[in-house]
Amino acid sequence: MGLVLVQFLNALSFSALLLLTGLGLSVVLSLMNFLNLAHGSFYLLGSYVAVLWLGAGLPWWMAFPAAFLAAALAGALLERFPFRGFYGRPHLMQVLLTYGLSVILADLMRWGFGAAILSPELPEALSGVVFVLDMPFPVYRLFLVAAGTLLAGLLWWGLDRTLWGAVIRAAVADRGIVETLGIDTGRVLAAVLVLSAGLGGLSGALGAGMLAAYPGLDEEVLILALVTVVVGGLGTFRGTVAGALAVGFALTFSRVWLPELANGAAFAAMALLLMLRPDGIVAPRQRQV
């Protein structure tokens, strides 16, 4: 019984990690229809910042805002050039641009941080285990679940219930009208991108304790985030949460039940989901023109 419960918690914490990685991508993709393949690079940057920060003996809880700021800064620079001109372009062009940038960023990070695998020294508060029916479960993973839930909740509340969130949603839906209200939509969209980048970095810092940091992680995380966001459905946070749960549980339980076919079974499940619901799990209601 304890075993099943802990495996459930394993799946939940992995889903939390996926949610964290997917949130930033979901923000920029759902809101701005901008396919940012450099998202993995922001994640990795945040991971490296967290590793270095924690290794330098600075207060641990500040590692996360530091990672957020570092990635947000990178995002702001890239937004200024060249992202800005590509918001309206076809996806394929965005893909090539952001993919090329991710390759450049990956190499720069490899140059700067080295090729070795780095992992953070977690603080006392986040180490250790709790016992679930006499099976150990790491505190760090509970922290991930809490962080993921909190972040998703904050984002949803910010975008759905505040005035700023309304401005963002309006600017994305109809840029022209919002301009007539005297709001600089260019800055609004830039803010969205910077937020998305910062979220990427923050999730990197949170996930570093589980995934470590090394060249190549950016690509792995990007794929996970993309699949999570797309399977869940674009346009809503509920979608990303649903996607994270679906992908997280699929990957975890396939490992438990069918270890030798693990990934294949999980991919098949996700593909089936997409075939049955071509617009993702939580599909926005579309009007047929």
Binding site: G2, V6, N10, A115, A116, R141, R255, V256, E260
Partner: protein, 408 residues
């Protein structure tokens, strides 16, 4: 829609002609080949080509291998058997197709005399036919068992271990010193993982031991939670595991997170506890774990190399820096024994295998059937060193372990 120029003629044929001429110019060997450096008067330069991973999942390992070889060359004044050395390095990104293309480039275009390197067994196996067909002496460093068996070649010399050597010695140690039953194995589900665990299981069972369960996880797993939870539920007497690279780091950290570190003995091939690649990133999660490996920073034969490596400002060496260095030593020995001339490779090979070579892995005799080195395999325990950092410390050495070879 056809393009037309002002005279109304089709532009396509002209385009094709221009393209063809450009391609012709660029691909002509004379323009494509780099100019050869002039060697010392009389002594022809020796071109050594190394294929290693400088991007992709094995980047850190590839950089270490290159550093090891460079250290050897620096120590010998960049000359071997009186011939100045030109050292070319190509990146295979751990992809076999890429590795084969680089090998052909080194052989066909850069005209190397000797090939060496390779980390990924996939690349090594893919190269086997290419180098045999091209008749280039190759000092191949992948470690798949087949390289010493079905994929052996008269042109390939292997100054490194096979996976079998590590799996089997780990089984012997586990049976003799730790437990005769209730072993649980866990491994990455791919060729190397299957070999490491399979060879361990076979030898362990031959000795009379019993394997409880064999757990597998996909290569490149991010979350070892399900695996570790399953292990914790089983409560085995000892766990034998194989993971490499980032998988090893994540496994060991999560091994500690799930409170298995220090409570359940952990045994594995030394790659799981690589001194350079894995231990620095896992803190004390691997403390007390035991690894079977041909390389150890505390082995007496590696002392001189270890000092030279430390002098370049690097920490304790791991497998790949040592392997790169050893590869250089073996190439050096081959050339010296053949008096600087490898053109009669059959004779040079015979002379090389005649006596063992002294390397940082110890005295290294070769098996003339398949060019495979016969190595001392150490049993390392991860202990806390004088400076507080983790060090692979030799507990015991199984001497002259010989791979069963082509008959197996």
């Amino acid at each position: 829609m056809q393009d037309r120029d002002r005279a109304g003629h089709a532009a396509a044929p002209r385009r094709a002609l221009l393209g063809g001429l450009a391609a012709a110019a660029l691909s002509h060997p004379a323009l494509a080949r780099p100019t050869l450096a002039q060697g010392a008067a009389g002594a022809r330069p020796l071109r050594i080509g190394m294929i290693t991973s400088l991007s992709g999942p094995f980047t850190a390992l590839g950089e270490s291998m290159r550093a090891g070889m460079n250290l050897f060359l620096a120590g010998s004044g960049r000359a071997v058997a009186g011939r100045p050395v030109e050292f070319l390095v190509e990146d295979d990104a751990a992809r076999p197709e890429e590795g084969v293309r680089r090998a052909r480039k080194l052989v066909g275009q850069d005209r190397v005399d000797v090939l060496c390197g390779v980390i990924s067994s996939g690349v090594a196996l893919a190269l086997r036919d290419v180098v045999t067909e091209a008749r280039v002496p190759t000092f191949l460093l992948g470690s798949a068992n087949d390289l010493a068996r079905k994929a052996a070649s008269p042109y390939i010399v292997r100054p490194t271990k096979t996976n079998w050597m590590l799996g089997t010695t780990a089984a012997r140690w586990t049976f003799e010193r730790i437990s005769k039953g209730r072993v649980l194995t866990a491994g990455s589900d791919y060729a190397a993982g299957r070999e490491f665990v399979g060879d361990f299981a076979a030898t362990y069972r031959e000795l009379g031991g019993r394997i409880d369960r064999q757990l597998w996880t996909p290569l490149g797993s991010t979350d070892f939670g399900p695996l570790l939870t399953a292990i914790a539920a089983e409560r085995p007497e000892v766990v034998y595991a194989f993971f490499a690279g980032s998988d090893a780091v994540r496994f060991l950290r999560q091994w500690k997170e799930y409170r298995l570190a220090g409570r359940v003995p952990l045994v594995g091939p030394g790659a799981l506890f690589d001194q350079e690649d894995v231990l620095p990133a896992v803190g004390d999660a691997a403390l007390g774990a035991v690894g079977a490996f041909h390389q150890s920073p505390t082995a007496p034969a590696a002392a001189a190399f270890g000092r030279a490596y430390a002098a370049t400002g690097k920490p304790l060496p791991g497998e790949f820096s040592t392997t790169g260095y050893v590869c250089g030593q073996v190439i050096g020995a081959a050339l010296e024994r053949a008096e600087g001339d490898l053109s009669d490779w059959e004779r040079a090979r015979a002379v090389l295998f005649d006596r063992p070579v002294d390397t940082a892995f110890g005295r290294m005799p070769f098996d003339p059937r398949n060019g495979q080195a016969i190595l001392d395999i150490h049993v390392n325990e991860v202990r806390r060193g004088a400076d507080g950092k983790m060090v692979n410390t030799v507990l015991h050495t199984y001497e002259a372990v010989r791979d069963p070879g082509p008959a197996a």
